[in-house]
Subunit: 355 residues, 2 copies
């Protein structure tokens, strides 16, 4: 990584030394440059780029911000350390001598510079040593090695292993588990962990809180791609739950340039679906849609990756008719451990999932 | 616990069998029944109770809700399982036969019933097997035993142990660490963990996200009370950061009945203080106060436990003058590991904290 960043800096320095106008080619991150690739099942980025010049009033601030992030990232690389996006913002925040101009005023600026640098160096943010938030727990029959420690995910009591923001350097030493269940809520994870679901069914359970963190997405992706484990996704029956699944499986628009390294095309949606709500008699736990839910659903049903998918369109239609959402937690009304003893085993056995 | 719940149920059943009006004495959870005890340094609850009758239109719904929660809790106890507050809401949610009356309509109702039951049985929610959210990570030279697993907090790589929502049954087998640093943000925890701060300074590092979960508060409390470790709290310099410290140290108004088992009177505030902002030249990272910050600060400075504390009143005054907040993350502008190499060692050595 240090090499790439040094090369990036040298190009600019060479241009400056030759009295040229320093420039960089930045791939365009906009809907117009994003497409859904049916072949790979991924949201990917087109080839369009824009030139960014140093001697250009409209470009210079972003130019300097990108170089400043590269400098911070190189420093992190040399010191073998990492920073959060928020911390990078503060590391960049200073006033140019003799002026009242700050390099960055808002975190959105440094975040955008990080994304630009990811694109130009073809590196993951994590490889640039810049991390997103840390959240989530994991348990299951897996042994990993991380920073010199050997960690057995099946020997961590009621807590589990706390998933770091950056999982690039963890090594899988032994994987006995046969599949992975990812869920959006920590409370459901605690239910499955207390029931020793992962032990009885020889699997891995992972939770986050809401949308999966990048650390968790990379972890799931490595388990799917490198180790060929099926990934089952459990969310609430609502547009936000569907979107959590959508991001995990197809990638996201804002991170389209790294779909290959974040998305999990083989992920399967294990519920709650509209059919689950009926089958398990959860209709009485409906929570009426608000305007914001209707709007979100309308956006999701038009996504290129859902548009021609009959099964998913059927779900969207049924949700629209219900005009209500149902939380996965409602399933405890069928029994404390219904999820572990009946719901999950039945759904997996009957291959009752959406793709 | 099962005994207490059985006794609770029997009292009501006996009253009913004797054709009396079934009743329960519910301690009053309101500001009028809460006081700050200077001696213990805790927010505690007074002795006022209210009678709740079954045959009383204004009481019956709450009466039934409380009994229903007791039933669920007893079931959990018998099955040796636990549930989240959200799940308890769903477990309670049903329509009374022959009516269109639901036992609970909103989670606030079941939450209140859980709190009432805590008061009447003198048990922690966790002992009733009802858990709040799970969040946070821990690392340090400590070995615990939990659900039959021996877990070494110093051998968990970049992730750490994921703190469960309920820590009542974990056993401390070996504690080499000499103090605890609690911080509100996961990114700072990752910074300290990457720097192996806990190893170099023989301590424990714990983070949550925002306000500490009950699991973390209980963990800190046990480390303080049972094992006599100093607890240092790190937050942003803003009213919300001060409040995080306030809750950890003195307890909270809504949970005043269990301050003894949640609060940590010996907790020390290690920054950011107004003096830290000056000392470390963080003034340029000020973020201007919004109205909501002013309002919150005004509330906090009037709390009985801060009112006569000159040191804290001085902080509030300085914050008011600055009319700005400063995030702890801003400290990376002094150097990536400034927090581990300079800030924390100096502050602890010089006993530069607030109490």
């Amino acid at each position: 990584m240090k090499k790439k960043l040094t090369a990036f800096g040298k190009t600019i320095a060479t241009q400056a030394a030759a009295a040229e106008n320093p420039t960089m080619d930045v791939p365009i991150r906009a809907l117009s440059n994003i497409k859904y690739d049916k072949g790979t099942g991924l949201i990917t980025m087109g080839e369009k780029t824009a030139k960014r010049f140093f001697f250009n009033i409209a470009h210079v601030k972003k130019f300097v911000q990108t170089v400043a992030v590269a400098r911070v990232s190189k420093g992190l690389s040399e010191e073998n350390k990492s920073m959060s996006l928020r911390q990078v913002f503060y590391a960049l925040r200073r006033t140019l001598p003799g002026t009242n101009i700050d390099i960055v005023d808002e975190q959105t600026e440094s975040d955008a510079a990080v994304e630009d640098l990811e694109l130009m160096t073809d590196a993951l943010r994590e490889q640039l040593r810049i991390n997103a938030n840390k959240s989530g727990s994991v348990a299951g029959k897996v042994v990993i090695e991380d920073r010199g420690d050997t960690i057995d995910w099946s020997k961590l009591g009621s807590g589990g292993w706390s998933v770091p923001s950056n999982v690039e350097s963890i090594k899988f030493k032994k994987i006995e588990a046969k599949f992975v269940v990812y869920m959006e809520k920590a409370a459901m994870w605690e239910r499955l962990n207390e029931d020793k679901f992962w032990e009885k069914h020889n699997c891995i359970i992972i939770s986050s809180q809401g949308q999966a963190t990048r650390g968790i997405r990379r972890l799931l992706q490595r388990l799917s791609t490198d180790h060929n484990l099926p990934i089952y996704v459990l969310t609430d029956f609502d547009p936000w739950g569907f979107y959590i699944y959508s991001v995990l499986k197809f990638g996201s628009i804002s991170l389209a340039h790294i779909s290959e390294r974040l998305a999990i095309p083989k992920a399967k949606f294990l519920g709650l679906s509209a059919d689950d709500v009926e089958r398990y008699g959860l209709g009485r736990h409906k929570i009426k849609f608000k305007d914001v839910d209707h709007t979100r659903l309308k956006q999701i049903e038009k996504y290129a990756w859902f548009k021609d998918n009959k099964e998913w369109q059927r779900q969207f239609e049924m949700m629209k008719k219900m005009s209500a959402k149902v939380e996965l937690d409602a399933i405890v009304s069928k029994g404390i451990s219904f999820i572990s003893e009946k719901y999950l085993p039945d759904k997996i056995k009957e291959k009752d999932w959406l793709e």
